[in-house]
Amino acid sequence: MTDHRTLRGPASAKAPASTGAVRISGLSKRYAMAGKAMTVLDDINLSIRPGEFVSIVGPSGCGKSTLLRLIVGLDTDYDGEIRLDDTRVAGTGLERGLVFQDHRLFPWMTVAKNVEVALLNQKLPRDRREKVIAEHLALVGLSDFGDAYPHQLSGGMAQRAAIARALTNEPKVLALDEPLGALDALTRVKVQAELQRIWMEAGTTMIMVTHDVDEALFLGDRVVVMSPRPGRIARIVDVDLPHPRDRASPLLHRLKDEILAELTREPRGDDGTLVAFPGRPRG
Amino acid sequence: MPMPSHGSARSRLTSAAIRIAPIAGILLLWEIAALSGIWPRQVLVPLEQIGATLLALASDGELERHLSASLYRLASGFCIGSVIGVATGAAMALSRNVHRLLWPTFTCVRQVPVIAFIPLLILFFDVEDSFKIVIVAMASFFPSALATHDAVRDIPESHREVARLYRMPLAPFLVRLILPATVPQVLTGLRLGLTRGWLSLVAAELLAADSGLGQMMEMGRQLFQIDVVLAGVFVTGLVGFLLDNSMVRIERHLGRWRTA
């Protein structure tokens, strides 16, 4: 596993990552409910470069959360292939991490202990372990809160702790499932900037699902727009702007308009014809 | 993944069988051990003998005598105790002054388990019916009072304000407002009171009585007639179970209008 890699600490310049390439080919997921077959994901193809930040947006029911769970291995029932650095993924593994929308810190452990959970099954000597934990707490700005319990933290802080835990074992790819969804608007903006900084320093490949188009554009190198029922990739938008991003950038606004147009477009039936809403003129 | 919830008759039978199996197993082991004679017949009585004793007691009226004595005490004590309990609980919840007056004493006395009062009550009432009825009354008083108090207190203030606004007189206020809102919780309290009352009664009868199921068991113990004791245990458990079950049914029936 990843036990002897040195931590890519707060480096001044982000070294280009060499591992963490994800390739998804022909991914489909179906299940039967009350006798009917439901397709959650239909023929997903996506290639993610090492160290890239990919945002995924889409309305409810487009299977984006399911996609993350499949990548991370919490769900193993699917057709198609998911490869990490050319190896097929099978079940969960320490090289793929996940941050949930509800932080899921263990309430009975301190923040530091929660972070240590990531190192549980890695053979690290004690002093090295403590150093790694301290470094990651510093990375997310929670150095002073190592001994606090989750119920004592605010939502934003708890989510940052969850991110620290997910990064501590230095996964090659980190999935984030609407990580900021439970936070209020002001905190969300702040933590977005934090997340960008953390990603820049750590250099891990990140795949983030979000409802918030602004967030997707602010953080992502690319934005994958999905359509629902069945879940498919509608289009992929390149965000060709340097990091750290400037929220006021006109390109971001233009891209946002494009994506929103895509998301609110009239649904097409499976055979490509426009589905007509009653009372609405065609065209 | 949604599970098929239709229970075919066969699957229900199997699950019932699985549940009964361990009990049947234990009874079987008992029977084998009893018949094997490892322990003297006095100590480990075979099931059929217990059954025979039970039938004998039933047929010659012994069982009926003891059972009716016990049930009479239970019924009287429970009625007295629960009525006073419900009234007290409601009064404490509705009137702040009554609450201040009674609640501290109520809480203090509640700390003492009811059976601890048995010796005291024997001194006051002697070993006749009265002290047992008082014990049952006490045992049913506290759970019903507490449940009623909590139930009435939990009625949203808004409901009571409406009643005050319309100047509802006391009787309709109690019947149309308080009663329906509190029935489920009060019934649960009554059920608990009934169970506790039954247990306290049997305990009291074991200690000091000249009739009743408890006394029947105690006599059996003193005469080393374990079959009588076990028959008594069986009937005690059965009565307790039936009482509890009936209350649950009543609760379910009366609480139908509730949405979860």
């Binding site: - | 201040r100 003492v112 009062f117 006051f124 305990a203």
Partner: protein, 256 residues
């Protein structure tokens, strides 16, 4: 300020009334004096019992019995609860048995145990342990079964072994309910202790002393014992509540 004084006064009013009525009854002639021991006498008996160590002896014996039984019944209950909570096979076989046995009240076991094991301390301990066993096993089982899937998923992400999962997720997660079970067991054990002491008047104990006093028609002694039972029961529950706050300090204040 006046409100609080009024509340206090009212709270004392009721017991004061009762005490006054009691004292009046005790002066109503010899027949009544036997049941209604004068208040002065009750106070004197209390002082006596403390001075000659009787109160400490009996209270201590009861306490020891209850706590020992709690330890025995509680531990077995936790082990059984963990086992049935984790293994569905064990649950299916053992649970109906436990439920059936629970239908028979502890009282019901009493004549049985008395006949099989005699009147000694062992029999008493067995009965009280039994009363501590039920709430513990039921709540522990519920606790083990109520482990949230979302925490289990985190365990899967980090490759927890079954043992790690048990130690780090299942057990702490179940602890609040286990605590509930043990505190119920404590309350039951105290009641059962007094109960068996009343019924098997053998060695020392508050229940034993109460029965002896009743036979000797000493209402004053009985009352001192009753008060002692109540106070000790209350104190035990409070101590346990404090212990729970200390041990489960990671629970948010509003949580159970």
């Amino acid at each position: 300020m006046n409100r609080r004084v009024a509340s206090f006064a009212l709270a004392l009013a009721f017991p004061a009334l009762v005490l006054g009525w009691w004292e009046w009854e005790s002066r109503q002639g010899s027949g009544h004096a036997y049941a209604f021991a004068p208040l002065g006498q009750i106070a004197r008996s209390f002082a006596e019992m403390i001075a000659d160590g009787r109160l400490a002896l009996h209270a201590g014996a009861s306490l020891q019995r209850a706590l020992t039984a709690l330890l025995i019944g509680g531990s077995i209950g936790i082990v059984a609860g963990v086992a049935t909570g984790l293994s569905r096979v064990l649950d299916r076989t053992a649970s109906p048995l436990i439920t059936t046995m629970r239908q028979v009240p502890i009282l019901g076991w009493l004549p049985l145990v008395a006949l099989w094991f005699g009147n000694g301390d062992g029999a008493k301990l067995l009965l009280v342990s039994l009363s501590a066993f039920y709430p513990t096993v039921l709540n522990t089982q519920k606790g083990m079964q109520a482990i949230e899937e979302r925490y289990a998923e985190v365990g899967r992400l980090y490759g927890f072994t079954r043992l790690q999962s048990l130690r780090l997720i299942a057990w702490p997660s179940a602890l609040p309910l286990i605590f509930t079970g043990v505190s119920q067991a404590l309350a039951f054990a105290w009641i059962a202790t007094i109960g068996v002491e009343l019924l098997f008047s053998a060695s020392a104990g508050l229940g034993t002393e109460m029965m002896a006093a009743q036979v000797a028609a000493r209402t004053d002694v009985v009352l001192v014992c009753v008060a002692c039972v109540g106070v000790m029961g209350f104190a035990l529950n409070q101590l346990f509540a404090l212990l729970r706050i200390r041990l489960l300090h990671w629970l948010p204040a509003a949580g159970k």
